[in-house]
């Protein structure tokens, strides 16, 4: 078969390790043995590709999924999905979920004493266009307490899940809001060692995309792992050293 152009490994300190004890749930779920590093074969450089038959026409508008309007400040969240080489990732499936304006999720295990909003489910999805662009219309989520430590509060955030064109591009992340004072106290945010990488999880206030008299806007660009410029030369030699 043809040669394979692999995906570059992540830059040091830009991705979290599995174990981050300040986030207590990692203590029993993080692997304790080293991961086994494997070369990227066709099984790794491919990934599921989604189409419009799987996405509803207004799935990217979380304010129009019920009879009434959800409570909360409307906002447009948009950006581009590109790779580390600056190339647009077209047709990427972007899934997004979030709490309502009171900081409550429509989920059976969320016990936070804050009201559910009958007009808000809190989930959307969209495929990126030819320039890698995506756009959601939603409401700004509230902060909410959790039980990780005393006086623990999650900063307001949106959850994003992205499928690129290969498994190395599979990404789940969270988008935060500029100026949120809770970021400094949040172990989820701080699990990323590199400060510059952390800051890239914070969206930008997006005056230009605000809709006058209707909605504010935030911009969040998402970068997926990029491909090496040349095909991997050492795939087979790496494999043959296995035993």
């Amino acid at each position: 078969m043809a040669e394979i152009r692999g995906y570059r490994r992540p830059f040091w300190d830009t991705q979290p390790e599995y174990l981050f004890p300040h986030y207590l749930s990692t203590i029993t779920r993080a692997p304790s043995k080293p991961l086994v590093i494997i070369p990227q074969t066709l099984s790794e450089v491919t990934a599921p590709i989604f189409g419009y038959d799987e996405i509803g026409g207004i799935d990217n508008d979380l304010t129009r999924q019920h009879d009434g309007q959800p409570i909360g400040g409307r906002m447009v969240v948009s950006g581009r999905v590109i790779d580390e080489n600056g190339k647009a990732v077209r047709g990427a499936l972007v899934e997004m979920w979030q709490a309502n304006a009171a900081g409550r999720y429509r989920h059976e295990v969320d016990r936070h004493d804050a009201p559910l909003d009958p007009n808000f489910t809190g989930a959307g999805r969209v495929l990126t266009d030819d320039d890698g662009r995506y756009r959601f219309m939603t409401i700004k989520p509230g902060s909410y307490p959790w039980r990780n430590h005393n006086n623990a509060w999650r900063p307001a955030h949106l959850h994003f899940s992205i499928f690129g064109i290969g498994l190395p591009q599979r990404l789940v992340t969270q988008m935060y809001f500029p100026g949120d004072p809770l970021l400094e106290y949040d172990p989820m945010y701080h699990c990323v060692p590199d400060e510059k990488a952390r800051r890239r999880l914070v969206s930008a206030f997006d005056w230009e995309n605000a809709m006058p008299e209707f909605a504010l806007a935030y911009r969040f660009d998402i970068v997926l792992r990029g491909r090496e410029e040349t095909p991997m030369q050492n795939v087979m030699s790496g494999l043959e050293q296995g035993e």
């Binding site: 749930s25 074969t41 990934a47 599921p48 064109i165 795939v235």
Partner: protein, 183 residues
């Protein structure tokens, strides 16, 4: 241009809100030619407790070893190869699929039939990646990826035959920890 990839963050405990729309436990449907397989498994954490709030995604080739992807050569089938399910209260997951064919590596050698698996949950700051291989499969012995795994841990990647089909359990942490990959 040289940008850096966005950092991963945990899916958290409420991932089901976002992922439910694309749950798929039956990959075989009416289309995929090949041996039909019922796959079940259970995920436990380092304390042996079931991971009851996770998501399992699988990705695999069709019965002829072809992925539904433009970089995979060969004739297309209707088999899409993607599955996603939540784990239940007991940490269990179930898929119905077909046994994939063998997928080549550069140079022409063939891999043993396998399914790529990704696990997402609260407490995982990025998802876990692993593979499930099939029991009684002679090609496992020559599989170039399995050969990179220490011999005494290879069994963690190979399903066993159970009452309803194949069974493959995942241990997140500890002495019997499943092998997870980095690629």
């Amino acid at each position: 241009m040289s940008l850096l990839a966005t950092s991963n963050q945990t899916v958290g405990p409420y991932v089901h809100i976002g992922f439910a729309k694309l749950y798929r436990d039956d990959l075989a449907g009416g289309s995929g030619a090949g041996e039909r397989v019922h796959l079940t498994g259970r995920i436990v954490d380092g304390d042996g407790k079931p991971m009851s709030d996770g998501i399992v995604e699988i990705w695999q080739a069709d019965g002829n070893g072809r992925y539904a992807h433009p970089e995979s050569s060969g004739s297309a089938s209707e088999f899409k190869g993607f599955g996603r399910v939540p784990t239940d209260r007991d940490g269990r997951f179930r898929f119905t699929t077909i046994k994939p064919g063998r997928v080549p590596v550069p140079g022409g050698a063939l891999q043993a039939p396998h399914i790529s698996v990704m696990i997402f949950s609260r407490g995982l700051l990025r998802h876990l990646s692993t593979r499930m291989y099939f029991p009684d499969e002679p090609s496992n012995a020559q599989d170039p990826i399995l050969r990179l795994v220490p011999k005494d841990r290879r069994a963690t990647l190979i399903a066993t035959r159970g009452g309803e089909g194949l069974e493959w359990n995942v241990v997140l942490q500890g002495a019997d920890e499943t092998v997870f990959f980095d690629f």
